[in-house]
Amino acid sequence: MTASYRRVPTRALIYILLLFFSMFYLIPMYVMLVTGFKNFDEVSLRTMWNLPSGLAMENFRAAYQVLAPHLWNSIRLVIPTAMISAMVGSINGYILTKWRFPGVGILFPLILFGMFIPYQSIIIPLVQFMSWLGLAGGIPGLALAHIIYGIPITTLIFRGYYASVPSEMVEAARIDGASLIQTYVSIFLPLSIPAFVVVLIWQFTASWNDFLFAVILTNSSNWPIMVALNNMAGSQIIAWNVQMAGSFLAALPTLIVYIILGRYFLRGLMSGALKG
């Protein structure tokens, strides 16, 4: 069924519908940006749909002043989390795909289940355990939580990816006398770049956007961006226009990644639904 197959009126109707739905998805972005670029005198709830008279930066500056330390906290969190998660996932995925040992069949579902659990069912012991480890309140403890609860999804993504590597290649390497680790380094690792991109983006987005773990495992000086933003939005002192600008700043990093690497992002999403 090609474009030429459809008659012009039908096509026009489809475009009209698509544009209509696009508006629904763009409204929040529109409001965030329009409000963000207004100057303080222009800002009023009555005129929130109007375009700004120029490109004022006051709102963004005000929001940045409040959020800057927390943006930095998030960066400190997200980079090690994504990198360690990717390494761990890659190794797990490799072993679960290519090396058979007793119990491997039951192992994978048990790993996978961890992806779906509501974190409310583990949060009480998590807090106790992190305090016991001396990691409560800071970024390293939060990163550890993200890495561990990220094991199921990162393993799943790599396992799916490595399943397409032909077993003959592994066999050949084995006959050549390559050990498990040599096979991984010489065959799997060089092929893995796309899967690494998928997992890095996934864990970056997940830990950047997380609220539940962050709010319970960090103290206020270590709050990542989402906890700080939620706190800012709940305060009576900070005006709604600054909140809008702050929301935009908080959303920007993951949005940029999505715009540049959307294809890989989508692949991660599909794996999350167990749809290769």
Binding site: Y25, P109, I123
Partner: protein, 298 residues
């Protein structure tokens, strides 16, 4: 010689995977077990107290009016959210499957909310769904007012008894693109020959959709329902960002939070956590079982 090497590799494999296994055994299964234990204890206050309380914390929930609100809110929210995402996702996928120009652009546009945090979504939609009226009218209500759509003006998440329904709107905004992507994947998997054959047999485009394509999409609908359903049972951030901890918009995930960390009723909080886990497990375990079995057969 050969045997020796394989043995060595097996040892390496086990060594490499064990840290992850141990971590998950502790952080998932150990912690669930510990929460279960706390849920049968009398622990209230800052100091852990594991004195046996039997099922009292669970029985307490059954008679707890706040928990009744939670269950009702979860049911309303889940129904609206899941049905909304499925319908919107299916419509968008069918529109995008017509082979028109700009498909990639629209697909990316409908999916971008997935990259955004529920907290950002909540903060922005809270202002869009500002319930103030009269001279302080703003947000979507103001838009409806100026477009002459006054009948659409409403109190959103502050509507008595039905406020939770308004929370489903930003949730649908965020997750419908994902549902679209699932349907689009399903549509792309339907062989073109099937449609061709039906066309040759004289079927109209409408009949092809009605009799062939929609029935073939049923497995996608089922997967999507499970994924969306388990997300809606866990909804937490979005409600906190829009409404804080109001009882009218309470759900089990928020109640667990407030009763445990604000009220220090650890036993009760743990019971709610286990309740959530069981509801999610009922949805997810059969799904995992069938998906993995299918995968093993392929």
């Amino acid at each position: 010689m050969r045997h020796k090497r394989i043995d060595r590799d097996t040892v390496t494999a086990v060594l490499l995977i064990s840290p992850s296994i141990v971590a998950l055994l502790i952080f998932v299964y150990g912690f669930i077990f510990w929460t279960l234990r706390v849920s049968t204890s009398k622990w209230i206050g800052l100091t852990p107290n594991l004195e046996w309380a039997g099922l009292n914390n669970y029985l307490g929930l059954i008679n707890d009016p706040r928990f009744h609100i939670d269950v009702r809110n979860t049911i309303i929210f889940t129904l609206l959210f899941v049905v909304g995402c499925l319908l919107l996702g299916l419509v968008l996928a069918l529109l995008l499957d017509q082979g028109l120009r700009g498909e990639t652009f629209f697909r990316s546009l409908f999916l971008f909310p997935m990259a955004i945090s529920f907290i950002v979504t909540g903060v922005v939609w809270r202002w869009l769904m500002n319930p103030a009226g009269g001279s302080r009218i703003s947000g979507l209500n103001l838009l409806f007012d100026s477009l002459g759509l006054d009948f659409l003006i409403n109190k959103w998440y502050t509507t008595p008894n039905w406020g939770i329904a308004a929370i489903a709107i930003p949730a649908i905004w965020q997750m419908s693109g994902f549902t679209m992507a699932l349907y689009l994947g399903g549509l792309r998997a339907i062989p073109e020959e099937l449609r061709e054959a039906a066309r040759v047999d004289g079927a109209s485009e409408y009949q092809i959709y009605r009799r062939i394509i929609l029935p073939l999409l049923r497995p996608v609908t089922l997967s999507a329902m499970i994924i969306l359903g388990h997300i809606s049972l866990k909804v937490f951030d979005l409600i906190i960002a829009i409404a804080g901890k109001q009882v009218a918009l309470d759900v089990p995930a928020v109640y667990m939070w407030t009763t445990t960390f604000d009220g220090l009723f650890y036993g009760r909080g743990a019971a709610i956590g286990i309740f959530l886990l069981v509801t999610v497990a009922v949805l997810v375990i059969p799904y995992l079982y069938f998906t993995l079995r299918q995968e093993a057969e392929v």
